[in-house]
């Protein structure tokens, strides 16, 4: 079994109000110099065949019309 992380984020150019809200909130808390904030989703899974993960993303884990995904292999599952 392999540990895999799928990072799903709004596609570039798609308005991301959650990201904007965070980007506006941080300076108010004294954290300056923050830009390009996007809020997405993290899916963690143990899979026997990591090669299937991109297909899982295309079919279910992401909506590729509005989201990009990135598959990160974390090595053997614990």
């Amino acid at each position: 079994m392999a540990r895999v992380r799928v990072l799903v984020r709004p596609k570039e150019g798609i308005l991301d109000p959650q990201g904007q809200a965070v980007e506006q909130a941080l300076p108010a808390l004294g954290f300056d110099g923050v830009s390009n904030v996007h809020v997405g989703r993290l899916v963690e899974l143990d899979v026997e065949d990591p090669g299937q993960v991109p297909a899982m993303c295309e079919k279910l884990l992401a909506n590729t019309l509005i989201e990009d995904y990135e598959v990160v292999e974390e090595g053997a599952a614990a």
């Binding site: 798609i14 308005l15 109000p17 959650q18 809200a21 989703r41 279910l60 884990l61 909506n63 019309l65 509005i66």
Partner: protein
């Protein structure tokens, strides 16, 4: 007599309301999400709610339910399908309608009675309307911001727009509802099934159900 089938997913909320609305014009029954058999209905309503909890992404899991496989087949063979709110999201996820629904610009759930302008009467669900009609129908959703990539926008068969600068969610071009190219499948964020009785609101939502019947039985 037209028979409407209203899908019940775990997490559906407005299926009974849709059932009652449809019964103004025909028979109506619930279709269970685990059943592939649509029971010979003439029109399918995919109702509002939070199917399967709307976890992962709105409508993402419901589209793979057994009943939706049959609905997709039904739609592709010309069957009448109406997706309301979460149902619209499910139809987009299923690829039966173009586009996707994003979180509202203000990031909050919004419940409001609104004016909805009919853009096209050339669909199965708006045949009883005229272009330019403004229907008073409520919206209630967190993810209703309709989006299609710019290069596909021109091809979208827009059916409803938010009227009077009343766009509640930041949708592209004030789009409130769309149809497929054939016009038999319509999805919209507003809730026509909650606009069927003067006691609890307006009656303008009846037009959509009436249209479906008119489509079935030409006068």
């Amino acid at each position: 007599m037209t028979t409407f089938g209203v899908i019940r997913f775990p997490g559906s909320c407005d299926e009974v309301d849709a059932l009652q609305a449809a019964r103004h014009f025909g028979e109506a029954k619930l279709l269970w999400h685990k059943d592939r058999d649509l029971g010979g209905v003439d029109a399918v309503v995919v109702p509002g709610g939070f199917s399967y909890g709307d976890y992962l992404r709105v409508g993402a899991i419901a589209r793979f339910s057994p009943v939706m496989e049959s609905v997709a087949e039904f739609a592709r063979s010309g069957g009448l399908v109406l997706g309301i709110c979460n149902g619209f999201q499910v139809l987009c996820e299923a690829g039966l309608l173009p586009g996707a629904l994003l979180p509202n610009l203000e990031r909050r759930f919004i419940c409001r009675q609104l004016g909805i302008e009919v853009v096209s009467d050339a669909t199965a669900w708006t045949a009883a309307c005229s272009p330019g009609d403004v229907l008073s129908i409520p919206v209630k959703h967190t993810s209703g911001r309709y989006y299609v990539p710019d290069d596909q926008l021109a091809d979208v068969n827009v059916v409803f727009r938010y009227a009077h600068d009343g766009n509640p969610n930041g949708s592209t071009n004030d789009i409130a509802g769309v149809a497929n190219a054939e016009g038999n499948v319509v999805g919209l964020m507003p809730h026509p099934e909650h606009a069927v009785d003067p006691l609890t609101g307006s009656t303008d939502g009846l037009k959509l159900f009436e249209s479906a019947v008119r489509e079935r039985v030409p006068a």
